[in-house]
């Protein structure tokens, strides 16, 4: 093997993803439900950006599949959108790392918008403007999530 660093802390990555899945399910007040940020996606984006050799498209696809099951949607919708976003992140992770936080947040906003498009196309129920609230909250919360996940990565020395 040519790699010098051996990967470690895989458990931490899985743990953060599971915590974010819990956050997606914790009950909120009715009018806040629509504004729930995409926790799982934020976590996956962070890890794909920081450790592109650890978290890839397959990882994202499987997390998305679990989300489909958890949320009771059609299998494959979230799986595809997550995989697609992580593909984009992997493609541009070097640029994304260079951006200041707010610019990162804006890039991530466009990606989350992309995520919502398959959901819009494939959902049978009527679509309302509420749908886009989560995009806004995700963007606003990105700097916090980023700082938090980076602290976790440094503390537990995940590489």
């Amino acid at each position: 093997m040519a790699t010098i660093k051996t990967p470690q802390g895989g458990g931490i990555i899985i743990f953060t993803v599971i915590i974010s899945m819990l956050l997606m399910m914790v009950p909120l007040a009715d009018n806040l439900r629509f504004a729930r940020p995409e926790w799982v996606l934020m976590t996956l984006i962070y890890w794909a950006m920081a450790l592109p050799h650890r978290v890839g498209v397959g990882y994202a696809w499987f997390s998305g599949l679990l989300m489909d099951v958890l949320m009771g949607g059609s299998l494959g919708v979230e799986a595809f959108s997550y995989a697609f976003v992580i593909y984009l992140v992997l493609r541009f992770h070097l640029q994304l790392r260079q951006y200041p936080l707010w610019q990162q947040a804006v890039s991530i906003m466009t990606m989350v918008l992309l995520v919502n498009i398959p959901a819009v196309l494939m959902s049978s129920s009527h679509v309302s403007w509420y749908m886009w609230l989560s995009v806004i909250t995700t963007t606003l919360l990105w700097p916090i999530a980023y700082a938090f996940l980076r602290a976790i990565r440094r503390t537990f020395n995940v590489s």
Binding site: M25, P27, L28, W61, L75, V77, A79, S125, V127
Partner: protein
């Protein structure tokens, strides 16, 4: 990436069109059930704590209120037993069969949020407790919905307010049959395809008609709250308020299939409870 795309599309179509992955989905649901329980835990714990620390007076008050309603219910039940017997005798005269007992299973909702755009709930009973796909879900006040997906220890039910849900109903007053279609949470149901001259009045009580074979006959569904006759439309626009307390019910009843051919003279009325 291409692989993920193809796999997703294949999954999506096989899942929605042919329901090919029901076993897989059920297995995955079993795997993620602990997650759902954990997510539900804070709320449950809060509820438990508030239960545990209620003061004595409150409990005594509640107790006496419950005793009073229990008495009332018992009186009603006696009357109801009489009516039921009379009904059975009349049916016997008519020569039609009558289903006697319906057994129910009590399940609890997990307090977790799902996709906010479809009305679904997760119940804490599954295949192991005899829940099956398509099983009717009721609460203390009326029909709530039906089970759409069963895993080993949990199941998922779609509420009758979901836009993809239709429920065969009849008006209690005159037996007029219709289909009640969901229009989203917080919105009233809609009675579909009733002409302008249909005999419907505001305040009419709707019960399940039993047509379609999923729901047992005679459970309350809701009351008519508004009737409009839009100009230029073929059908009346009839809004129905669901009887079930979709937002507040924590405990629900799952109706188990009854022993179909019970002899008519069997005078059992009980709605047995299984835990």
């Amino acid at each position: 990436m291409l692989l993920a795309l193809i796999a997703s599309i294949a999954l999506f179509f096989l899942d929605t069109r042919f329901n090919y992955f029901a076993p897989t989905r059920s297995a995955l649901s079993t795997v993620v059930y602990p997650l759902q329980v954990i997510a539900s835990f804070p709320n449950d714990a809060l509820e438990w704590i508030s239960d545990a620390f209620q003061d004595r007076e409150q409990l005594a008050e509640k107790n006496s209120a419950l005793a009073a309603t229990n008495l009332l219910n018992n009186i009603r039940l006696q009357k109801m037993q009489n009516l039921e017997r009379e009904n059975m005798r009349l049916r016997e005269l008519l020569g039609s069969s009558f289903r006697l007992t319906e057994r129910v299973l009590v399940a609890e909702l997990l307090s977790i949020d799902l996709d906010p755009f479809s009305q679904q709930v997760v119940l804490n009973k599954g295949l192991d407790q005899g829940v099956y796909n398509g099983q009717p879900v009721l609460d203390a006040h009326g029909v709530m919905g039906q089970v759409t997906e069963v895993a080993s220890y949990s199941s998922r039910a779609v509420l009758l307010t979901d836009p993809s849900h239709g429920l065969p109903v009849q008006i209690n007053r005159n037996g007029l049959r219709a289909v009640a279609i969901g229009r989203g949470l917080g919105e009233p149901l809609q009675l579909a395809h009733l002409p302008h001259n249909a005999d419907v009045r505001v305040g009419d009580v709707l019960v399940t008609s039993g047509l379609g074979g999923r729901f047992p006959v005679g459970y309350p569904v809701g009351t008519v709250i508004a009737i409009n006759f839009p100009q230029g439309k073929a059908f009346a626009d009839i809004a129905v308020k669901p009887a079930a307390q979709l937002n507040t019910s924590r405990e629900v009843l799952l109706v188990l299939p009854s022993a179909k051919k019970t002899p008519i003279n069997n005078e059992v009325i009980s709605t047995e409870e299984l835990h």
